[in-house]
């Protein structure tokens, strides 16, 4: 509990510093939300009040923007984020098989996190890797021409990297 509180306080301090940095920028809200998510992994609801005050917006407006964009998360994700492209080019190369495979081996649906908190599964609509479909992204790494066997290897790799760390 105390750990959680400390994390919360650290995040709050980070967020305040980011607000101070971005508030003067024209159209500041999106750059600010990006900065917050980059720093703490998601956009926590408790920062809506301070953002709205700094940018002279209502809390509802901030909430509206955060939830409009697929990129922003309002909850802490798993330690790794796996995205599978659902767009046409990847479908033409068997992405549906990959989707089904990922869902069954991770035992989650899209927008859910594995029970051990390791991997959050997300759909994505085109990464611009369409000449090498199907595409999977794990954290910041992009992979092309991914087969179910390679997907298994990527999942294992993500889990092994945790053990090492």
């Amino acid at each position: 509990m105390s750990d959680l509180q400390t994390t919360h306080e650290i995040s709050a301090a980070v967020i305040d510093a980011l607000i101070a940095k971005h508030r003067q920028q024209p159209g500041a809200l999106l750059p600010l939300l990006h900065a917050i998510q980059d720093a703490v992994g998601y956009v926590p609801e408790y920062c809506y009040a301070s953002i709205s005050k700094a940018l002279s917006l209502s809390v509802a407006e901030v909430h509206g923007v955060v939830t409009f964009y697929h990129h922003f998360r309002t909850h802490k994700p798993g330690r790794h984020i796996m995205q599978i492209c659902r767009a046409e080019s990847c479908q033409a190369m068997g992405s549906e098989v990959l989707e089904a495979h990922a869902k069954s081996c991770l035992n989650v649906d899209y927008h859910q996190t594995t029970a051990d908190g390791a991997i959050t599964l997300e759909p994505v609509y085109c990464m611009g890797n369409c000449a090498l479909s199907p595409t999977v992204v794990i954290d910041d790494e992009i992979y092309g021409r991914v087969s179910p066997a390679e997907l298994d290897a990527l999942i294992t790799e993500a889990k092994v990297s945790e053990v090492k760390a």
């Binding site: 024209p26 159209g27 500041a28 809200l29 999106l30 750059p31 939300l33 990006h34 940018l55 407006e61 509206g64 923007v65 409009f68 964009y69 697929h70 990129h71 922003f72 767009a87 046409e88 080019s89 990847c90 479908q91 033409a92 190369m93 994505v124 609509y125 085109c126 990464m127 611009g128 890797n129 369409c130 000449a131 090498l132 479909s133 595409t135 910041d140 790494e141 992009i142 992979y143 092309g144 021409r145």
Partner: protein, 520 residues
């Protein structure tokens, strides 16, 4: 002597291991005591050959591909550093047939130069266009762009010069140049290749636009799915600022142009220009009513040029070589070249820049090499998720805006996605509705509600429930969306839906003969 080795930093190359190959080459060279300079270039666009490694020799650049980490040691053993033969040899890069047949104007430097080296850019004819533009009046620059026949490459194909002219004619103390780099269409990646492979050409194009219409601030609205493009763009902008190609006194001309990259946040609809402007202002990306046109009341209410990456990146060569040079390429009212992106189920996916007029068949078979699966190509979707599906009988259509319009299809951003005969077109029609439902901004009813109702009706059709009635309903609904939506998202979702139904009725349980009777 230092040997130059080129290994792409393009994200699709990274997706098949370019980073690991670059590390392996560096390590192996060190072990063998060889002096190597590794240049991280853009991709030449032969993606099935990635990771493509090139080495500079006295005869020219020699290519090897597709290189995996396990091949690196044997490349050194074969003395690839002197361009010697190896199982993965592709010969002189310039002589590769697939590249040699292309007409690369916008992509002239991509894959050749170091994307973030200003020196390299200038050595390869960079900034000649801007230097010419600085000698001309705003009206003269706009006239050159108009005379070139350049039309918006984002998909709408509106003449670029006419858009610029409207902004030029507006009196305002502040104007903006906005680059639409929210390349969300499936099957398209030419914007990404430019931004990762030759970012200076986009910066130069935007600077020329600013000088032409009197705008001093530019924004690149970049999709969040392109983190590598963000890095190259920011590095290039920094270099251009340092060298006086951006900033308050461009090349001593007294003219100002500043440029900033803004990250989008994963909303497809923000590729629509008014939604994009809302997003840049920090709001939800709701589509605006037009008029007023963005050219008159755009970003923060000021006159704004909104152009796609490829349109802006094509401006420098037009200002360098002249309007006529560019207009001499192409057919009919489609002047110049189109960077075509081959995607989906194709053996040789990649970037093909050609003058307008090449046929789909030529692209699918002589460039694309047929399907990757070896099965017959049954359908292609051209122009992204809002583009029509074309059957084999239409493969001889030349790539030209008007020729496609005649077929009730669109060229869009030049992405071609191929499907083999395992595709279920009713499923693709359902997906078109689903995508629209996921991405709808929610402002207008036909798009917000029609998309979900559309999915339900397709489900009824595929399950055989009220079949004839449901087919008619999908047509009625499409008609409403087509005519009643505020923007292209709802307004063009019927393109993939109805083209799938009309060209592949058997997938919807309708016989070809039945199609004419149910349409009555």
């Amino acid at each position: 002597m230092v040997t130059k080795v080129y290994i792409p930093r393009d994200s699709s190359a990274l997706a098949v291991g370019a980073e690991k190959v670059a590390v392996a080459v560096a390590v192996e060279a060190k072990i063998r005591g060889l002096d190597v300079e590794i240049i991280r270039n853009g991709s030449r666009g032969l993606y099935w050959m990635e990771t493509m490694v090139e080495v500079a020799t006295e005869q020219g650049r020699v290519a090897y591909g597709p290189v995996k980490v396990k091949d690196v040691a044997s490349l050194f053993d074969a003395d690839f550093m002197h361009g010697k033969p190896h199982a993965l040899s592709l010969g002189l890069t310039e002589e590769i047939e697939w590249l040699k047949k292309q007409q690369r104007l916008t992509f002239a430097r991509v894959g050749i130069t170091d994307p973030v080296s200003l020196e390299d850019y200038i050595a390869h004819d960079g900034y000649k266009g801007l230097k010419n533009a600085l000698k001309l009046s705003g009206a003269e620059i706009v006239k050159t762009v108009t005379d070139s026949g350049l039309r918006g490459r984002g998909g709408a194909a509106f003449p670029t010069g006419i858009k610029w002219n409207t902004v030029l004619g507006c009196e305002s103390e502040q104007k903006y140049i906005v680059c639409n780099a929210d390349e969300g269409d499936s099957g398209t990646y030419s914007d990404r290749m430019i931004m990762e492979g030759d970012p200076f050409v986009l910066i130069e194009g935007m600077t020329i636009a600013g000088v032409a219409v009197g705008a001093t601030q530019g924004y690149i609205y970049l999709r969040s799915e392109y983190p590598h493009a963000l890095v190259t763009l920011n590095e290039a902008i920094e270099a251009a600022n340092q060298a006086g190609y951006l900033g308050d006194n461009i090349l001593g001309s007294g003219k100002t142009f500043n440029l900033e990259v803004r990250r989008a946040a994963g909303a497809y609809v923000c590729g629509e220009e008014t939604s994009l402007l809302e997003s840049l202002e920090g709001k939800r990306g709701l589509v605006r009513f037009k008029p007023p046109l963005p050219a008159i009341e755009g970003l923060f209410g000021k006159p704004t040029v909104v152009n796609n990456v490829i349109s802006l990146a094509t401006v420098p060569i037009i200002l360098d070589k002249g309007a006529q040079f560019y207009a001499d390429y192409g057919m009919g009212r489609s002047r110049g070249t189109l960077p075509i992106q081959l995607a989906g189920n194709l053996k040789h996916g990649g970037l093909v820049e050609l003058a307008f007029g090449a046929t789909l068949r030529e692209l699918l078979y002589s460039y694309g090499g047929g399907s990757a699966s070896g099965k017959p190509i049954r359908a292609v979707q051209v122009g992204g998720p809002l583009g029509a599906y074309l059957p084999e009988s239409q493969f001889d259509t030349p790539l030209d805006y008007e020729e496609f319009a005649k077929l009730w299809a669109v060229l869009g951003h030049g992405g071609i996605v191929a499907f083999d005969d395992s595709v279920d077109m009713a499923k693709m029609a359902r997906y078109a509705f689903e995508f629209c439902a996921v991405e709808s901004c929610g402002k207008c009813t036909p798009c917000r509600i029609g998309s979900t109702r559309g999915m339900e009706v397709i489900d009824k059709i595929t399950s055989g429930k009220d079949h004839a009635k449901s087919i008619q309903l999908v047509r009625d609904l499409s008609d409403t969306m087509l005519n009643g939506s505020l923007c292209a998202l709802g307004g063009m979702t019927p393109y993939p839906v109805l083209s799938a139904l009309n060209h592949f009725p058997e997938d919807f349980g309708v016989s070809s003969a039945g199609l004419s009777s149910e349409a009555k």
